[in-house]
Amino acid sequence: MSTQTSTLISRIEIRDLVKRFHHQPVLNHLSLTINDGDFCVLVGDNGAGKTTLLRILAGLVRPNHGVVTICGSDPISEHPLRRSIGYVGHHPMFYQDLTALENLMHYARLYQVGNIPRTIAEAIQAVGLTTYDQQPVRTLSRGMQQRLSLARALIHQPSILLFDEPYTGLDQAAAVFLDDTLRGLHTPGRTILLAAHRPQRLLSIASHVAWLKDGVIHRHLPVDRLGEAPELGRYLQEVA
């Protein structure tokens, strides 16, 4: 199945998306297309709906209306498609009493990853946690848990990556590590959507910026054409 999804174009298409919580629209007829290989930074105020949008794309939340397709399929109903999605959310999604290694093993089994011991060893090494892999997750710092989350999201080599405020709570060293990792992940055939409240540091890494405002995508354009949208430029300076 992984070969089937990986041969599809890693494109995210959202059309006329509506999501309401308690009758209050958070996303209001939102449309957005993120092309194969794009690294799009999703910006917007707190409560603008960035998390909701990412959770819908990850198949964790069902929209009230609209069409969402990832690699041409619906991420909620087509569960094999979820193999091509990697999601890093606000919470690390780990079991506190299990070690870093055991947690990754659990996720690797769920994703039916091949050669699990080797894959996990490589993933843990890639995020620089080899010396901590036998420690229970509850003993790891926020930055380390974030790195481990990254390993979890990448363990099945997804072609679509969704990040929700991944810099929150990270110190400078961990943030620089994340910058480097994101730079390395931005490769042809991999599409990245990253929600950030303060996106300034990402503008040198990302290819596009999408501005979520009033439940719709207000502007969506390449980073090198930000000059065409002075309103967005001012917003980015305000939140920097």
Binding site: M1, H79, P80, Y87, F94, D97, L98, E102, H106, L110
Partner: protein
């Protein structure tokens, strides 16, 4: 790998993870055991009944202990998935989400079954009956199978509720009443020396409960977890 094998493998991986977490944390089974044993001791010393009356009450007390202790285990099982949004990790996995229900229900069943198996010999010490009988073990496992299936489904319902800790017992006890009555009646019959065929109507009710609640889990679990 065939889809059914993948599905069964997913259930096994979730069950295995629950066993692993319990083994590392030891926060579920010991708490359930202490709670259940406390109920057994308390009732034994509080009621001071004659041996005849004690024999009649044994089945009811066994199920009171099991039901209350199981509820603690069910809460623990779902809290485990709520901490750090671990449930999201399961929902993101490329599998039919009903596998999460069956994995969690099996885990709850194994843990409460283990508590029940420890409880039976303890009951034999306090009550003038040998509780370690195969038919009674069978009835207990059937009753717990139905009870934990329903409990797993309802605990998923309470995962997003603010009053989740009280919501589960409030929903579970009334809905589980037919199952608990059938389990008590079947246990009482077995303890009175009847064969399983003599209490077959209660056994069928327990089997129907297992089928019904697992079918409900298969169909509704994903919807219940949706935001």
């Amino acid at each position: 790998m065939k889809p059914i094998v993948r599905y069964l493998a997913a259930i096994w991986h979730i069950l295995r993870k629950d066993i692993q977490v319990e083994w590392r944390g030891r926060q579920g089974i010991p708490v359930m055991l202490v709670f259940a044993l406390t109920i057994v001791f308390l009732f034994n010393f509080a009621l001071q009944l004659s041996p005849d009356l004690q024999a009649g009450l044994a089945a009811g007390l066994l199920w009171v202990s099991l039901a209350f202790a199981s509820t603690l285990g069910l809460n623990r099982g779902i809290n485990l998935e709520r901490e750090n949004n671990a449930m999201d990790g399961l929902l993101l996995a490329p599998m039919d989400r009903s596998a999460i229900f069956f994995g969690k229900a099996l885990g709850n069943f194994c843990f409460t079954g283990l508590v029940g198996l420890v409880l039976l010999p303890v009951f034999s010490l306090f009550y003038p009956q040998n509780m370690l009988r195969l038919p009674l073990v069978l009835v207990m496992l059937l009753g717990l199978g139905a009870y934990t299936s329903l409990g797993t489904l309802l605990s998923a319902l309470s995962i997003q509720a603010r009053t989740r800790d009280i919501l589960l017992p409030v929903l579970l006890y009334p809905l589980a009443l037919p199952i608990l009555i059938a389990a008590v009646e079947a246990s009482r019959g077995v303890l009175a020396g009847q064969t399983l065929s003599n209490v077959s109507s209660w056994i069928y009710l327990l089997l129907a409960g297992i089928l019904l609640f697992n079918a409900a889990g298969l169909i509704f679990f994903e919807t219940i977890l949706e935001e």
